[in-house]
């Protein structure tokens, strides 16, 4: 039992990160109408920024600020590319997916060739933090608490923004029907920029939480995460924000528990097999797709 609880707690920390990533991914999908496969790569590059600042200055506040700025900057930088692609007549969302795969390949190659000579990076112990509570093999680290609390705060703030503010209303209007929203005079371009900004902000937070939780990053981190984010989003139903919360958390727990009971590399397969079965049974997702 103790063993099971320990694994579930691990899974919840990891799940919180998936939830945040899927939320950012879905936001881009709903408002900017793009499949941003490279979104997790932006998060990983932001982690490199955290690491670089911490190593150079050891200033935590500066590191947090730089991480968030880098993340917002990267997301905004990609905006003209995606705007250009979506504005071409006759293209659809598939084109943005293909372009973001291209973007993802570029970022991975830059990281593996140029950043820290391609070596993985590692965060110092005072950044990662030690144990806060320990009972047998159950261990609650400071970083898992950050992941849970941070996850809850960010999700609550995001849903508040979406359902209780003007910007949120614009977002939802565009997500509902872009053309009608335009007819009603909603500034599509400005609102779309806003979504990149918020996705960037969210990405910065994810980078910080993830760097604390796993304590390292490597050029190949984003690739496996990106696949899982896309898979979670589809299992939940593309663009379904609430579904993403549930499925993201579930994936984290299933992965952790599976590692506990199944031999190494098969454990990841279990999560994928479950997701595959769900997709084959419900091609439009468990909770229904918000986007076709």
């Amino acid at each position: 039992m103790e063993f099971f609880i320990a694994q579930v707690l691990n899974g919840l920390s990891l799940g919180s990160i998936y939830v945040l990533l899927v939320t950012g991914f879905n936001l881009m999908l709903l408002v900017a109408k793009i499949i941003q496969f490279a979104y997790p790569q932006f998060v990983v590059i932001s982690m490199y920024a955290t690491w670089a600042v911490l190593r150079a200055t050891n200033n935590v506040i500066l590191a947090i600020l730089v991480t968030i700025v880098v993340s917002i900057f990267l997301n905004l930088l990609s905006e003209p590319i995606f705007r250009r692609i979506t504005s071409i007549k006759g293209t659809d969302i598939n084109a943005t997916f293909v372009a973001s795969i291209g973007l993802s390949m570029v970022l991975v190659e830059i990281m593996s060739h140029s950043l820290n000579q391609g070596f993985p990076i590692s965060f110092s112990d005072n950044w990662v933090g030690g144990s806060v509570f320990r009972y047998g093999i159950i261990n609650i680290s400071r970083s898992s608490i950050f992941a849970w609390v941070g996850g809850i705060i960010v999700v609550v703030a995001f849903f508040y923004l979406l359902y209780r503010t003007m910007v949120g209303r614009l977002f939802r209007a565009i997500a509902e029907n872009r053309h009608v929203a335009k007819l009603f005079g909603i500034p599509i371009f400005k609102t779309s920029i806003m979504s990149y900004l918020i996705a960037g902000l969210l990405g910065g937070f994810i980078a910080l939480l993830l760097s604390m939780l796993i304590g390292t990053a490597s050029p190949w981190l984003g690739e496996s995460v990106a696949l899982k984010v896309l898979a979670v989003s589809i299992v939940a139903g593309l663009g379904n924000l609430k579904g993403g919360l549930f499925v993201g958390l579930a994936l984290g727990v299933v992965e952790s528990v599976a590692i506990g009971y199944v031999a190494g590399s098969w454990s990841n397969v279990i999560a994928f097999v479950i997701m595959l079965i769900v997709i084959l049974a419900k091609p439009k997702g468990l909770f229904g797709a918000a986007v076709e």
Partner: protein, 388 residues
């Protein structure tokens, strides 16, 4: 008399002509000795590939300072295969018709894919960083720097078990990649010989987060750990073990392939006090080694050379010896014959003065090579013992 003089002159002329002919036959036909190296400098083992390239280039620079090989400079041409077999074949196909000898390929999967092409074309591959098991199939067109894994590794884990006699049960983290499962099996043999029980826990290749894995290992209630996985994963796992309260550091053993910069960057202070084994002795007093180490550190942010750092340094020097001893010319017309001369020289070299130790080869296998066991203290390795 005149007849004799004429005869004498004629004979002298003949001897001279013949002599200069053989002399011309031995003359070097190349401006630069190109040594091609099929390495993996991108992809999952890019960091290891980087320092192997570095040491090959370093050896070439030293040789050139000392006057080159038979008076001509040597140049290392790196081919990146990125650990992809088809890329390996592609790179091999570019050189297989023309070059004298090739270093690599690296690692196992690329060897198995690309070496058959070299064998078909009679080209010798200096597979100096790979276990015996994966090169023996292509003997005599390859060699192994190490004796068979199941002979060479058990003595090291036995030594480690003797150093830590309180251990009865250890968990071994095994990543199923290339030669590592075989090495894990050899670790287990040595430990079983010392009545230490071994439980394997498999490390997923694409794992990024290790708390679940470490919880699983700790639930076995072991007395120690062996890490047979990639360097940054080993670093992360040790860190996670320490975060979860593991204190007996010398009961953690890291295998040689994880002795790489990435281990130290991800493991950090958590590595303090752990054991690690390796094929090179960083405290060797050999002057060539001291220079090597110093320049390596200058180029690598103060980090010590990794486990496989000397292999291709020694390979370049071995090729140099083969060319000099066999008076090879690099002449394309004699390619096939000179390829075989290099092959036969390297596979049976006697008392080769490597950068650290002097050893001999017998039909492609080394006859005497030690393995060293260390403790890591403040990021530096301190020798505990060695096994032969």
């Amino acid at each position: 008399m005149r007849k004799y003089v004429a005869k004498f002159i004629l004979i002298m002329l003949l001897i001279f002509a013949f002599g200069s002919m053989t002399f011309a036959q031995d003359e070097v036909a190349v401006d630069t000795w190109e040594i091609h190296f099929l390495n993996s400098v991108t992809g999952p083992i890019a960091s290891i590939g980087e320092y192997m390239s570095w040491s090959a280039n370093y050896a070439a620079a030293k040789i050139n300072e000392e006057g080159g090989i038979r008076g001509k400079p040597v140049e290392i041409v790196i081919h990146d295969t990125g650990v992809q077999p088809d890329k390996g074949i592609e790179e091999m196909s570019k050189i297989v018709d023309d070059v004298l000898v090739v270093m690599g390929p690296v690692p196992e999967a690329v060897i198995m894919a690309a070496v058959p092409l070299a064998v078909r074309n009679g080209l010798f591959c200096m597979t100096s960083s790979t276990s015996y098991e994966y090169t023996v199939e292509y003997f005599p067109w390859t060699l192994s720097w190490y004796p068979p894994t199941e002979e060479k590794l058990p003595p090291v884990t036995e030594l480690w078990a003797e150093e830590n006699p309180e251990m009865e049960k250890v968990v071994q983290f095994v990543e199923k990649w290339a030669a590592w499962p075989g090495m894990a099996g050899a670790h287990t043999i040595g430990l079983n010989n010392k009545n230490v029980k071994v439980i394997d826990v498999e490390v997923p290749k694409d794992a990024v987060e290790f708390s679940s894995l470490v919880v699983k290992a700790l639930a076995e209630d072991p007395d120690g750990f062996v890490l047979t996985c990639n360097p940054d994963k080993a670093g992360k796992i040790i860190k996670e073990l320490v975060n979860r309260g593991w204190e007996e550091k010398d009961n953690i053993l890291v295998f040689s392939s994880a002795d790489d910069t990435a281990l130290y960057t991800t493991g950090g202070d958590a590595l303090n006090g752990i054991s690690i084994y390796n094929y090179i002795d960083p405290d060797s007093e050999n002057e060539r080694w001291l220079n090597f180490k110093q320049e390596y550190k200058e180029d690598h942010d103060g980090k010590n050379p990794g486990s496989l750092a000397t292999n291709y340094y020694d390979s370049v020097y071995m090729i140099k010896e083969a060319i000099e001893e066999g008076k090879l010319t690099g002449d394309p017309a004699k390619l096939a014959e000179e390829r075989i001369k290099i092959r036969d020289y390297c596979r049976n070299v006697e008392n080769f003065k490597g950068i650290q130790i002097t050893w001999s080869m017998n039909e492609g296998l080394p006859t005497s090579k030690p393995i060293f066991l260390f403790e890591i203290i403040d990021g530096e390795k301190q020798l505990i013992g060695k096994s032969r």
